[in-house]
Homo-oligomer: 99 residues x 4
Amino acid sequence: MKSIYDKVIEFRDQRNWKQYHNEKDLAISISLEANELLENFQWRSSEEAVKDSKQNMKEEMADILIYLVQLADKLDVDLEEEVYKKLEKNAIKYPVNQE
Amino acid sequence: MKSIYDKVIEFRDQRNWKQYHNEKDLAISISLEANELLENFQWRSSEEAVKDSKQNMKEEMADILIYLVQLADKLDVDLEEEVYKKLEKNAIKYPVNQE
Amino acid sequence: MKSIYDKVIEFRDQRNWKQYHNEKDLAISISLEANELLENFQWRSSEEAVKDSKQNMKEEMADILIYLVQLADKLDVDLEEEVYKKLEKNAIKYPVNQE
Amino acid sequence: MKSIYDKVIEFRDQRNWKQYHNEKDLAISISLEANELLENFQWRSSEEAVKDSKQNMKEEMADILIYLVQLADKLDVDLEEEVYKKLEKNAIKYPVNQE
């Protein structure tokens, strides 16, 4: 993730936007972008939506990740490490089926 | 992102979950997790929320990223590339202030 | 609620839209409209948002209620009764302070 | 809507909660409840979800309406009137098919 992180933070800092980036509004922003992604699926099956709107989906997914990185930076959280911790926790909850 | 991507997909495939992962439900899942993150800020300032609930925030952020990677995999989308494209697009929309 | 209910359902039925209104997409629609309402508050205090965007807030609130009524109709749920039941349940959870 | 409105506001005022009810957190709350409703449909068809979780759906729908009424009260908005205005606007956008 380091290169994504560096580019997103560079973009933000070139514009001096960190001062506006409180955690609550960043969390709101992630929900807004997640719903803009979801809007592509309203009244449609997955297949129809992907066929018609894949380009928009990509942009909304990028927006979600950009806000997520900015929130991680504000909270001094290492997203990569958190994903690994969560997968370990989930692995206990959902063990691999041994047959 | 490659290492996150590999671990998330490995986790999913060890459990044979790809068959359930249609794009519409993955997009729903991202919105659900985004709102679980946001719930930490309900009736609270950023400062209060971060003080009380940083651990939960980290887990919800990991959940959002895990679903985002799974959706990217289903759509054959390179999240890192999409972030760079979106930053370039945003750079035109919001040029750096020249003084 | 009866008059709201009647008008919303009349509007829907004049257009023969009931056939498209599955419960899952109605629930998605409520989340989308809730986030369009929330977007008015992104990067702003309540005061700033209400000052600038009250008209849009009203329309998004109407959209939420319109979808909620349509979902209630599909599920054969009496929203008014459900609100009273929920208030009774909440009253036990949050008793009025006796001093 | 008058009777729902009266009961929701009475409930709130018996607990002196109006002081906490800023518009931004009420809008957040509506999104949170909308996603708790939506969670019932995660990884399921409408039919499966309604079969398994109708009781929870009813409660989440009530929660959405309770927060919506509280936001309407704070904003001094008549929800019923707003729904009628929105239906009139939608009627122009989506005229009834004349055959």
